[in-house]
Amino acid sequence: MKRLQLFALAAICIWLVGGCEMGLAPHLSILGATPDFPIILIGTLGLFLGRGASTTLGFTAGVVEGAVSGANLTSYAISRSVIGFLVGWFNDLELESSPFLSMVVTAALTIVAQLTLMFMAPPGSILGYLAATIGAAVYNGVLAMPFYALLKRILDPHD
């Protein structure tokens, strides 16, 4: 796929996940865990990108997430940039990508991102935050599989 098309796809996805994070995510709460759509995007689309591009994707998704939540932009931008960079680094390992891999990567990224966020903006209750993070990691991992399959179909239709 051409670079411009990939850029357009990333832009549309960021727009959609920003809206879904704002309006849909709270409705999908299960046992206190809510999905984090921007992290799911980084964990899936990032698997198709290089390190620099996935860092930029992480940064943009972080700014969008911080902006829609009204939370501190610095902590979201940095934590999501870091996981974007980690996805790019992970791609260098050249593992066979699959929906299962995207699930594991997204779950791991959720934990890294939320722990980074925790150190930058300490929550009131650490234990409650960690429990919510584990729940969100599982939730994000499960949602990442169909999302990855959809992206794979769009980006590599002949694969």
Partner: protein, 265 residues
């Protein structure tokens, strides 16, 4: 090179945060957040409506009979409340007349501005509402539901605003609150304790407050009138070290059940 992208992203993120903090101190939404929220709002509305409709459909299918009974009961209560409304207006006129005799002037009423919740971020205990400065909304205005106080407006843009929920723990967002039906009625400062409870701190350890007491706003603010219900006391504890009494309050309003709220302007 890739490391430079990461460092650049972190620096840019830091600068954006500084811009955001400066705008928030003035009760505004920063330019980047405002633009992003404006772009994301249509998707948020559509996705939220779809989720609501799906939820309502399943609820209606499985609880249809219960809903019919509840509808009849609510109609009866509405008829009863209309009588109460007339009586309360008459009493308000009498109070204003009596205050006029004492040269105090009438109590300032608040306009109600209806708003939809178009965004909710549980982790940050913050909501986005569908009205803004175009409707006369300003920072620090209270947001209420039928159950009671929900939150306080924090930043305002043209056609939307963001508010922190009462459960949000913020040192500079404390609300004055009193214990209802106590004479004298002790006043304390209220803030969020965790996602589901509030903490009301009294400077006097002998403050007369007990489990089960109802807490309402004190009216010690230009924007928040007296008497808005907040919640019920579920625990009282004394902090000997600081010489204060703290009441843990279970709020009446639950954000998970709300779609529409009212801002008191």
């Amino acid at each position: 090179m890739d490391w430079l992208v990461l460092v650049g992203a972190c620096i840019l993120g830091f600068l954006l945060g500084q811009t955001q903090n400066a705008a928030r101190a003035q009760g505004r939404i920063d330019t980047v957040s405002n633009a992003v929220q404006g772009l994301a709002s249509p998707i948020a509305r559509i996705s939220g409506d779809v989720a609501d409709s799906a939820g309502d459909l399943f609820f209606g299918v499985f609880r249809g009979r219960h809903l019919t009974i509840e509808n009849r009961r609510l109609n009866d209560r509405l008829a009863a409340l209309s009588l109460y409304g007339e009586q309360s207006q008459r009493l308000q006129r009498e109070i204003d007349a009596l205050r006029g005799l004492l040269n105090l002037g009438p109590l300032g009423g608040k306009d109600k501005v209806a708003a939809d919740i178009i965004g909710y971020i549980p982790g940050d205990r913050r909501i986005t509402l569908s009205v803004g400065s175009a409707e006369g909304i300003k920072p620090n205005m209270p947001i209420v539901s039928a159950s009671g106080l929900v939150g306080i407006v924090q930043t305002v843009a043209g056609n939307r605003c963001q508010a922190v929920l009462m459960t949000s723990r913020s040192k500079d967002r404390k609300v004055g609150a009193i214990v209802l039906n106590r004479n004298p009625s002790p006043m304390g400062l209220l803030e969020g304790a965790n996602a589901s409870t509030l903490e009301l701190e009294f400077q006097n350890q002998g403050a007369p407050v007990q489990v089960g007491d109802t807490i309402v706003t004190a009216g010690a603010s230009e924007y928040i009138p007296r008497g808005i219900p907040i919640g019920k006391v579920i625990q009282v504890e004394d902090d000997e070290a600081f010489g204060v009494r703290r009441a843990i309050v279970d709020p009446f309003s639950s954000i998970g059940e709300l779609r529409e709220v009212v801002i008191l302007r």
